[in-house]
């Protein structure tokens, strides 16, 4: 495994946020505090010198307590933000990031959202035309596509989001941010099955989840990030067991 080229290569990744300690609520407040010299910044190290590689076909779970930098890591891998230092080598065109905030426009119909959302995440018009029925069928929303999304239930919204992001064989690298824990049980099973199919097809999956069960069931490797630092990286069972020990303390 070591001599093949990794699909995602993360080297000394550091992400520093500059957070204003004064909670400024608006322009007036900002100016007043600026004049009084009350604007101070505190540095937040969301990620601190993290390095690891992910090989093709691996299913990696990222665990850690709240605010430990997991979602920041996914955003960095997807290229939504750039790191303060360090680098990530990955082919961004192959990535599909799936998060809970699907970015649907509530005022538009399901159909219109499929095209809008699909275009944003990089599908061409031809691809969407060809896969439209498949997306609708997977989301089980055949009778609702002309309906406005604001009339959907939250489960329906996440089903549609999932169906769009995993349409076709488009995604070679799938980044999942807490998405496998939504929807009803039937859809959860269905989406897990889809993920497994994609893994069989050679997709690489990186998932963030609070549910240890989801990670244990689906991943073969886990990366534990704690307060921005890489705490442990290895076999999913070993890492999760260690993580649980910390929780038990």
């Amino acid at each position: 495994m070591a001599d093949t080229q990794p699909v995602i290569s993360i080297k000394n990744l550091t992400m520093r946020y500059r957070i204003s300690t004064a909670n400024v609520s608006g322009l007036k407040d900002y100016l007043i505090r600026k004049i009084k010299n009350q604007i101070n910044y505190r540095e937040l190290l969301a990620l601190d010198d993290v390095s690891f590689d992910i090989q093709k076909g691996e299913v990696v779970g990222i665990i850690g307590t709240n605010g430990s930098g997991k979602s920041t890591l996914l955003k960095l891998i997807s290229g939504a933000i750039s790191p303060s230092s360090g680098e990530i080598e990955v082919d961004r065109r192959k990535i599909q990031l799936l998060t809970l905030g699907t970015g649907f426009d509530m005022e538009l119909s399901g159909r219109e959202n499929v095209y809008l959302n699909g275009s944003i995440i990089g599908y061409s018009k031809d691809f969407l035309d060809g896969h439209y029925d498949e997306i609708v069928e997977f989301a089980e929303l055949q009778d609702f596509m002309e309906e406005k999304v604001k009339n959907y239930s939250s489960g329906m919204v996440s089903r549609l989001g999932f169906a769009i992001a995993t349409a076709g064989d488009a995604a070679e690298i799938l980044l999942l941010d807490e998405v496998l824990s939504v929807g009803d049980e039937f859809f959860r099973k269905k989406s897990l099955k889809r993920i497994k199919e994609m893994i069989h097809g050679g997709s690489t999956v990186v998932m963030v989840s609070h549910g240890m069960g989801t990670i244990l069931d689906n991943c073969d490797r886990a990366v534990w990030i704690e307060k921005g630092k890489l705490r442990m990286d290895g076999d999913v069972k070993t890492v999760c067991a260690e993580y649980r020990k910390l929780g038990g303390q």
Binding site: L27, E107, L108, S119
Partner: protein, 254 residues
């Protein structure tokens, strides 16, 4: 090539959404882009034409031409201002440059402007303006005015991420700009000092240029040419540069 096609596809989808949303609950839909300038013109003519009858030749068109340009500038800059915040969920996932969101708002304003042309051009002919060669300059004015608004919009969009207050300040600013554009009164009516201010208002330049080449059929002066080109190009380049430099900061904050 494929990337450009995708870029265009995203812009069209986003623009379609803007237009659908804007007119979602109205019966006439985008026809309002044709009707509303006409109605404004009617009102303004009723109110002001008796006041400035002797000073302004062809008041309805004088007003409408100015109004269309002011409106386009206002729409571009104002809608671009909020574009990053409005699309925060999509920004994280977009595959093409984030500039598409900005360009789609600009394109929306442009489409609206073109619809307004459906009212403007017939009206121009109906009120006795003969088609003249100077009219070929109109698209140039239109594009430069869009570029100027776009540049201002870029800067505002960054500011708006950090200070939501800008939105309210800018609305007031636009009202002020409207009165400083000599849109419904002849510029000679105001004191000299005020005239100086108006002459230095870029939006006024775009209106003046359009009135010259469309309504009065005269070739704009070299000075005016220079001003509309410099304002448009400089504003666009500067705005875009600032937008690119601050992009990462915005993404962290949003």
């Amino acid at each position: 090539m494929g990337e450009l096609k995708q870029y265009w596809f995203v812009i069209r989808e986003l623009t379609g959404r803007e237009i659908k949303r804007k007119y979602a609950r109205s019966y006439l839909g985008i026809l309002w882009s044709v009707l509303s300038p006409l109605l404004y013109m009617l009102v303004m003519t009723l109110v002001f034409s008796t006041m400035f009858k002797r000073n302004i030749q062809n008041f309805p068109l004088y007003y409408l031409t100015g109004y269309l340009f002011f409106n386009m500038y206002g729409q571009v800059s104002q809608s671009v201002m909020t574009v990053l915040v409005d699309n925060r969920n999509l920004l994280l996932r977009v595959k093409v440059p984030k500039n598409v969101f900005v360009l789609s708002r600009c394109y929306t304003a442009f489409i609206n402007f073109l619809y307004s042309m459906m009212a403007y051009l017939p009206l121009l002919l109906l009120s006795g303006v003969k088609p003249k060669l100077t009219m070929i300059l109109f698209p140039i004015d239109m594009i430069l005015c869009l570029m100027f608004g776009l540049g201002v919009g870029y800067v505002l969009s960054i500011l708006y991420v950090f200070f939501a207050d800008i939105k309210y300040l800018y609305t007031v600013f636009l009202t002020m700009l409207l009165y400083l554009s000599a849109i419904f009164y002849p510029i000679e009516q105001v004191p000299n000092a005020m005239q100086m201010v108006i002459y230095n208002n870029p939006v006024y330049d775009y209106m003046l240029f359009a009135r010259d080449c469309m309504v009065y059929g005269t070739w704009p002066t070299a000075d005016l040419w220079m001003r509309i080109i410099i304002w448009g190009v400089a504003s666009y380049l500067l705005g875009y540069l600032i937008f690119l430099r601050r992009e990462n900061e915005v993404m962290q904050h949003i």
